[in-house]
Symmetry: C2
Subunit: 107 residues, 2 copies
């Protein structure tokens, strides 16, 4: 990961969401902004691990973080959230659409 990075391919972008916890986080954030702690409770994951995943999501430009007192508020990045039938995520190279259902811990 050097300073001068080549633009990520479509498969690279998909990799970011091709991870259980990260996908859950993004789908939860599609419902609305949430604090890291809230995400931690909703997705059942260790604090440190969640933080790592959030970093990956931030680096990918999928979510943004904002200080809120001693907490941090996360939200889906502006251009990523799409209004379609149900939820949809715009990866730039492609769009993935979910049916209007829960973002629950996917089995």
């Amino acid at each position: 990961m050097a300073t001068t990075e080549t633009q990520p391919s479509c498969s690279d972008r998909l990799k970011v969401l091709a991870e259980d916890k990260r996908l859950q986080v993004v789908r939860l954030l599609l419902e609305g902004p949430k604090h890291a702690g809230e995400l931690q409770r909703l997705v059942e994951v260790e604090q440190s691990l969640l933080s790592h995943h959030l970093r990956v999501l931030r680096d990918a430009g999928l979510v943004t973080a904002e200080r809120d007192g001693k907490a941090v508020l996360y939200r889906v990045a502006p251009d990523v959230s799409i209004r379609q039938a149900g939820e949809a995520i715009n990866l730039g190279c492609c769009v993935l659409a979910f049916e209007a259902s829960s973002a629950k811990t996917g089995g």
Copy 2:
């Protein structure tokens, strides 16, 4: 990977396409059925490696294989290909839609 496998999660399904060669293959097959050899030329990849990737795609139910003489013809599985604006892939848990563009070696 035992005989009694739990159903793959949405992130598991996304993992299958979150790989450059595999995504290329599927997008090429969306254009129409192709022999393994043809895929091998189009996607630039070693024979063995392509075969491994094709196996992953088959196991995921994304493509089907059919003997054609000494060759093997691959096609996108029936319910996976979706007619939307542009190409679209139905993963069951979600749909990913591409704009009507090339399936070329994605950069």
